[in-house]
């Protein structure tokens, strides 16, 4: 409470550094930001939250006059020290970097990959006339000031030689080079591991303490909660709610804000629905359906239930209560991995172990979570479980039969029992195909079912019906079948990917970061959908994520991976409430705001 109070006093004393009144931004006559107003005073932090595409970044760029030639920006006031709307290009360039420091959203690609980090940081110094001789010294100081170890060495390195966290820091250092009064940080912590994320937030906090003003943009409420004095909640280009942070988060007035808060998964949200959408209406029994499919192939559409409201489904599924206890152990293991290892030859020709001695069991109806930082070998382990990558050592069995170590030919008939939702949904679709064709490709071909010639697709009507059913099952409009994946939103793509996985009616579903590319509200819908599906179909889920909150929300049991090894495993609550391994402890400690759980 104390730092915020100190800042609060400062804020009323000084004149505003940034004043925005009725800001509207349109592209090609299509308005994407409407009537945004706020002020920023020295030492103050304004947070802007809202889901993807709500206009946060566009608003930030408007402050710098960098919306590009296609943008029409209007406002009654748009003052950042100069009037952005009327100032000359020259005057704006003076302001950029000197008065306003801007940290772009995509930290990993916002540094020119061909320039050394030092050059990048020196750029504002060069542009704003700092003599060449002074620059190297300043660069090192700046790097040191954002806690980059060995600044002299780092300055000489290329962005690709730096980790994500270091890159983000270098970017912040460049923005701070000329000691601007205002720092705009656009999603400074997304795409970073929790541990690194914590460090960046610490850095921004120091910066605030040093008296600079901060505009913090994020879709992550917990991040904003930690730094901002004042919050704007944006939705569809409009500010739907604003006010002091604690007040907005503790007692959200606007339904959208409330939804946003409710959507954050965590230990506390286990068994609860995250979204306010009704549960997906799935009531078919896959096993029964499979039995029917053996006989007939005609109109075996995924049946839809009559009625069925979201009300009771919003309760925790009964099966899950059991699974939480010793349940899974009693049910039948479908996928068993033992001693999986994988090595790759690096560019230097040396072998690198990316997965080492990983074992697990996955039982029917259970969710096994795998958590770990980026590059810890999660996807590789999953690929081995799917037998898409042959393990260097160890083996996998599916339903008790060997799954790895046999020729692909023998695996192919059984492939449909285990399905995958890949890490990056977009790139997992053939870009030429429509959603419908993508799903049709996954449907069992009539030939395979009937064992007859290729006179399939004649029953095009059935397939169309099945595709429509699949789309409805994941809560999508069947009309989307004619769209190309590229034209879909992230959430829609992820649903299509899930629909494709369901098309084969699998017993095991491998979900590799199924929600990491989605913003909270969409993430909530997808997580709810997965829970509904699991309940309805009884599939086993292998759920991979780097987000502890998500993992805790969905998993019955959890594996924690680091550097290719499993460092800790157990039930979700055991592992995440009472972590034993130092790495797990570090992860849990870095979670930004345990108190948000209570708010939600």
């Amino acid at each position: 409470m104390t730092p915020t109070a100190a800042r609060a006093t400062a804020r009323h004393a000084a004149p505003p550094l940034v004043a925005v009144q009725d800001l509207a931004i349109a592209f090609d006559g299509h308005e994407v930001v409407h009537d945004v107003s706020f002020t920023l005073r020295p030492g103050q932090c304004v947070g802007i939250v809202g889901e993807s595409g709500s206009g946060k970044s566009v608003t930030a760029r408007a402050l710098l006059g960098l919306n590009g030639p296609g943008a029409q920006v209007s406002a009654t006031t748009l003052d950042v020290g100069v009037d952005v709307l009327t100032a000359s290009e020259q005057a704006l360039r003076e302001v950029r970097g000197r008065r306003l420091g801007y940290v772009l959203q995509d930290a990993l690609v916002s540094l020119d990959p061909l320039r050394r980090v030092g050059t990048e940081i020196a750029e504002p110094l060069r542009v704003h006339g700092v003599p060449r001789a002074e620059r190297p010294q300043r660069v090192q100081e700046l790097l040191a000031s954002v806690s980059v170890p060995e600044p002299a060495l780092r300055a000489r390195q290329l962005p690709s030689e730096l980790s994500g966290g270091l890159r983000q820091r270098a970017l912040i250092a460049a923005a701070l080079a000329l000691d601007p009064q205002v720092l705009i940080a656009d999603e400074p912590t997304t795409a970073l591991d929790v541990t690194v994320q914590a460090q960046i937030l610490e850095l921004l906090q120091q910066n605030l303490a040093a008296g600079r003003a901060l505009i913090l943009i994020s879709h992550d409420l917990s991040v904003v909660e930690r730094l901002a004095d004042h919050v704007l909640v944006m939705h569809h280009g409009r500010v739907v709610e604003e006010g002091p942070t604690s007040q907005v988060l503790a007692a959200p007035q606007d339904p959208y804000t409330r939804r946003l808060l409710a959507a954050i998964p965590s230990a506390g949200s286990r068994g609860r629905r995250l979204s306010d959408l009704p549960p997906a209406p799935i009531s078919l029994s896959p096993r029964a359906e499979r039995a029917r499919a053996d006989g007939t192939t005609g109109a075996d559409e995924l049946a839809r239930p009559e009625g069925g409201t979201g009300a009771d489904a919003a309760r925790r599924p009964v099966g899950r209560e059991q699974a939480d206890g010793p349940g899974p152990a009693t049910s039948r293991p479908v996928l068993v991995a033992e001693g999986l290892s994988k090595s790759y030859r690096g560019p230097d020709g040396r072998l690198r172990r990316v997965v080492e001695d990983v074992s697990f069991q996955l039982c029917a109806g259970e969710t096994l979570g795998i958590v770990g930082e980026s590059g810890s070998g999660k996807s590789t382990a999953a690929a081995m479980a799917l037998a898409l990558t042959e393990p260097t050592a160890g083996h996998v069995t599916l339903d008790g039969e060997p799954w790895t170590g046999i020729p692909e030919r023998r695996r192919r008939p059984r492939r449909r029992r285990i399905a995958v939702v890949q890490q990056d949904p977009l790139s997992s679709f053939d870009p030429r195909w429509t959603v419908g064709r993508t799903l049709a490709d996954a449907l069992p071909s009539v030939r395979r079912e009937r064992g007859t010639g290729p006179a399939r697709d004649g029953s095009g009507g059935d397939r169309t019906a099945r595709i429509a059913a699949l789309l409805r099952a994941v809560g999508l409009d069947p009309a989307l079948a004619h769209r190309h994946p590229l034209t879909l939103s992230g959430g829609q793509r992820q649903r299509v990917a899930i629909a494709r996985a369901l098309a084969t009616d699998p017993e095991v579903l491998v979900l590799d970061e199924p929600v990491s590319a989605l913003d909270v509200s969409v993430q909530a819908q997808v997580l709810d959908l997965l829970a509904d599906l699991q309940q309805a179909l009884g599939t086993a889920h292998l759920f991979i994520s780097h987000d502890l909150g998500v993992i805790h929300h969905v998993s019955d049991r959890v594996l924690v991976m680091q550097h290719g090894r499993v460092v800790e495993s157990g039930t979700a609550d055991e592992v995440l409430h009472t972590p034993r391994h130092p790495y797990t402890r570090q992860l849990v400690a870095a979670l930004p705001h345990p108190e948000l759980e209570e708010i939600a």
């Binding site: 790139s427 679709f429 053939d430």
Partner: protein
């Protein structure tokens, strides 16, 4: 002759990067672009000329008229006449077929060879890939003109030899591109998805890998056809072009070169035709690629 089909730059994986969510949805509706229409018209007229030249040409392209040589453009001869008094316009019209045959034929040969090499390299594993890379290197290191000259010396000068010669000369460029592209596609998540679905390799190859690997070739191919015509014309400069008096654009351009100071029309019109045609093909090709790239965004 620098302009044979370009070797692939870095495999164009970047094309696939998704636009920020929501951005793609807001593509402009397809406006009718005058450039595109003009390009389409040019290509259509050329195709028409190749199929039914007599529809467009008022004169026999081979009929000489000794008294009318070097006549400047007039109502009777809109593009003028050449050194033998032949009607340049009719020759340009009739030349379309031969030029197209050479251009398309050579490109097809180049592509077919590239396909075999590129697929072998892209799909065949380490050793095959190493071998293919070497073969491509060797073909590159060979001056294209040498290959063409030797082929023509060995097999005689015919449209087929020229097509093969130009096709071979352009092959390594395409091959490198196909190989790179196949490698990219092969490692892509959607191929993995297809494998995870249990599709047999042949089906994955035919339905997923091939179509995607060829997508970026469209522009190259459209460019390549124009280049092949120019290439064959360069052979004509060395006396190895199509047999006179066959009407063919490159050969006409080459013949007109001699008289450029007194009969500019002999060069201008075939030259303009080649350039316009190439330009139109490129415009169409780029449009086509953009359309397929964006996954038909409408």
């Amino acid at each position: 002759m620098t302009t044979l089909a370009p070797p692939a730059p870095a495999p164009a994986a970047a094309q696939e990067t998704a636009p920020a969510p929501g951005r793609a949805r807001r593509r402009r509706p397809a406006r009718i672009r005058p450039g595109l229409v003009a390009a389409g018209a040019v290509v259509a007229v050329v195709l028409l000329a190749a199929l039914v030249p007599d529809l467009l040409a008022p004169h026999d392209p081979l009929e000489i008229s000794l008294s009318e040589s070097f006549a400047p453009p007039s109502a009777e001869h809109v593009f003028g006449t050449d050194q033998s008094g032949r009607d340049v316009y009719s020759r340009v019209v009739h030349g379309a077929r031969q030029s197209l045959v050479i251009g398309i034929g050579a490109t097809a040969i180049g592509l077919a060879g590239a396909l075999v090499l590129g697929l072998l390299g892209g799909l065949g594993g380490r050793i095959a890939d190493g071998a293919v890379t070497r073969v491509i290197e060797v073909l590159y290191a060979f001056p294209g003109i040498l290959l063409a000259l030797i082929l023509i010396a060995v097999y005689g000068n015919s449209a087929v030899t020229q097509m093969v010669a130009v096709g071979l000369a352009t092959m390594p460029g395409y091959a490198r591109m196909v190989r790179g592209q196949v490698l990219v596609v092969r490692g892509s998540a959607y191929v993995e998805a297809a494998r995870a679905l249990g599709h047999p390799p042949v089906r994955i190859l035919l339905r997923t890998i091939l179509p995607n690997a060829f997508r970026p070739l469209t522009v190259l191919v459209t460019l390549g056809i124009g280049q092949a015509i120019v290439w064959a014309a360069a052979l004509g400069f060395l006396g190895m072009g199509v047999q006179p008096p066959t009407a063919e654009w490159g050969a006409m351009l080459n013949a007109g070169r001699t008289y450029i100071q007194q009969a500019w029309w002999m060069d201008l019109f075939p030259g303009l035709t080649i350039v316009l045609f190439t330009l139109s093909l490129t415009v169409l090709g780029r449009h086509l690629q953009r359309a397929t790239d964006a996954g038909a965004l409408r």
